[in-house]
């Protein structure tokens, strides 16, 4: 493991922030305080953080409908994110996008996406920009197992390969697309698909932050050095329903509690760093407390923030319109 102490603390803080953010959004949704379609990332934190920790300014990611975790890992402001999800004027997108369209291009976050398979072509474009302008940047498309079957995704593999783009496709396989099992819906294997396009492919346990971090470093470095695209198949699970309000009757009995007890990425991380005496428990506990305070504050501020007003309805349809 080549993570410094600071990096370890940072990784833990990011994963804890995502978890606490999602748990709070879940509570607030249950209480009727958050409108619309909300898809939570709890259980999947190691993927967003394991990849995004290797990214620099000028690198881009494109996310999915399940986008809060990617936003946080890429450095989006948590308080503005919460305000966005509450539909407030101070939100990251002025309340116009909401959970499914949360974005911050200045941070290299090209948006959550309401269209499954919307991200991979966009990432080819971001990678093309980096290549053309010689920025040394890379771009990562996070794609669900369901999204991996979309034509746009498969076409993007081909384009990224023939143009030798600094693009990375991260297939986040949480076992389901809505209620449909990935084991049924995905023909062949993700890694086999990559091979079909002549792209290096990897499979990794997404509960294990360190495993993700290792693979991420390799594929991002390759892309940065001009070695072209890679694909990583990350396997894990989501803790909440497909969207908030999903009764999850399609899941196995005890599936979620068992995963939370045995394969939780935060617990595994904590055990690992404590056993190896890399960090001590008090430091991690302090991060937990600080994150809880941050989320409390973000939520209270989001609730108190003003709604957009009529004057905002028709702004930003165009840059200019004449």
């Amino acid at each position: 493991m080549q993570l410094s102490r600071d990096e370890l603390l940072h990784a833990y803080r990011l994963m804890r922030t995502i978890r606490a953010f999602e748990d709070r959004v879940h509570e607030e949704f249950q209480a009727g305080n958050i409108p619309g379609f909300v898809h939570l990332y709890a259980g999947e934190e190691a993927s967003a953080v394991g990849f995004c920790m290797h990214l620099k300014e000028g690198d881009y990611i494109a996310s999915t409908h399940r986008g809060h975790g990617h936003c946080i890992a890429k450095g989006c402001d948590v308080r503005a994110m919460m305000a966005e999800i509450f539909g407030k004027k101070d939100g990251l997108c002025g309340g116009k996008g909401g959970s499914m369209h949360i974005a911050d291009l200045e941070k290299g976050m090209m948006g959550a996406n309401g269209i499954v398979g919307g991200g991979p072509p966009l990432v080819c474009g971001a990678a093309l920009t980096a290549k053309t302008l010689k920025t040394g940047g890379v771009a990562i498309a996070f794609v669900g197992d369901g999204g991996s079957n979309q034509g746009t995704t498969l076409e993007s593999y081909n384009l990224a390969k023939v143009w030798n783009l600094p693009a990375i496709f991260v297939i986040e396989d949480n076992g389901y697309a809505e209620s449909t099992a990935s084991s049924w819906a995905v023909a062949g294997s993700q890694v086999g698909r990559a091979a079909g396009f002549g792209i290096p492919g990897y499979e990794v346990d997404g509960h294990d932050f360190f495993a993700v971090w290792d693979v991420a470093r390799e594929v991002i470095e390759r892309a940065r050095m001009g070695g072209g695209p890679s694909l990583v198949h990350v396997r894990f699970s989501r803790y909440y329903g497909h969207f908030e309000g999903d009764a999850m009757t399609y899941r196995g009995k005890d599936e979620v509690p068992r995963l939370m007890a045995e394969r939780d990425c935060l617990k595994l991380f904590r055990n690992r760093v404590l056993e190896a005496a890399l960090l001590d428990a008090a430091e991690l506990d302090r991060i937990d407390r600080e994150v809880a305070e941050l989320i409390d504050r973000a939520t209270a501020e989001a609730k108190a923030a003003p709604m957009p007003s009529e004057a905002d309805l028709l702004t930003d349809v165009y840059v200019s319109y004449h």
Binding site: G97, G147, S179, T180, V186
Partner: protein, 339 residues
Amino acid sequence: MPKKTYRQAINEALRQEMERDPRVILMGEDVAGGMGSPGEDDAWGGPLGVTKGLMPRFGRERVLDTPITESAFIGAAVGAAVTGLRPVAELMFVDFFGVCFDQIFNQAAKFRYMFGGKAKTPLVIRTMYGAGFRAASQHSQCLYSIFTHIPGLKVALPSNAYDAKGLLIQAIRDDDPVIFFEHKAMYDEEAEVPDEPYTIPFGEAAVTREGDDVTIIAMGRMVNFANQVADKLAKEKIGVTVVDIRTTSPLDTETILDTAAETGRVVVVDESHPRCSVASDIAALIAQEAFEHLKAPVKMVTAPHAPVPFSPALEDLYIPSPQKIEAAVREVLAFSARA
């Protein structure tokens, strides 16, 4: 007559047509749900439970869950339709049409014409549309005008549970491709719906209110708003006729022109954007064919030329409301041409 929701009416139409004709099949993402999953089968019945119960009754061979690959499965429905099945494919939200439009407008819509009348494509695409769910820009659009624009497609837009059942059965029995629009905010709305199958012919508008002063032409969910306005204004002795066009293609131009001529004052209400819309199409029709009867310019009430916003505060301002419709009615009433 039994009361049923819009959701139940659609489910019943599908079930009865599948019972009647073994060539009718359903396909779509999670139309049953639970495919390959360890828990319950038929776990979803579509995201809002509209097709629930159909898979247990007809089996996985006639109710097909699909991977998320609209281009392939909508295209497969087109190909199956032209070779002997009568598929009802679900495009979960109409906003996703961008992924699969070629198969609809270049393939399904054009076979019959391009092949010199030799093809039949009895396909139905059921799809959810409309704002009001706080579902933001990519899950709230109407988009029916885009399908209406394409020769070869038929477009139905039921405004209530009764029409939903009759129009859907008609769509399934129709030999041309039909895009069937279901408003996501109407699934729980009830109406009297007969138990037995029945059809409502395409291109026949319904006059849902009658009055002498103003004519409102509306479609989809906007019909309900228009009816509310008509009922309210009736108390002030303002007579409002409401026309529910029911299908945008074919369009019942006769009823539109007759009712427009009767009052000479027309408001067209459309939840979609104003440009190149069904509303502007109808307004143009009236301007061309009923000009001599008009006492005021035709007024359109539509959403603005902007995407659908997420924030509830903005979305409520965005959607054409009964208040906006009422104001438009008063405006056309107050208009008097200077000689």
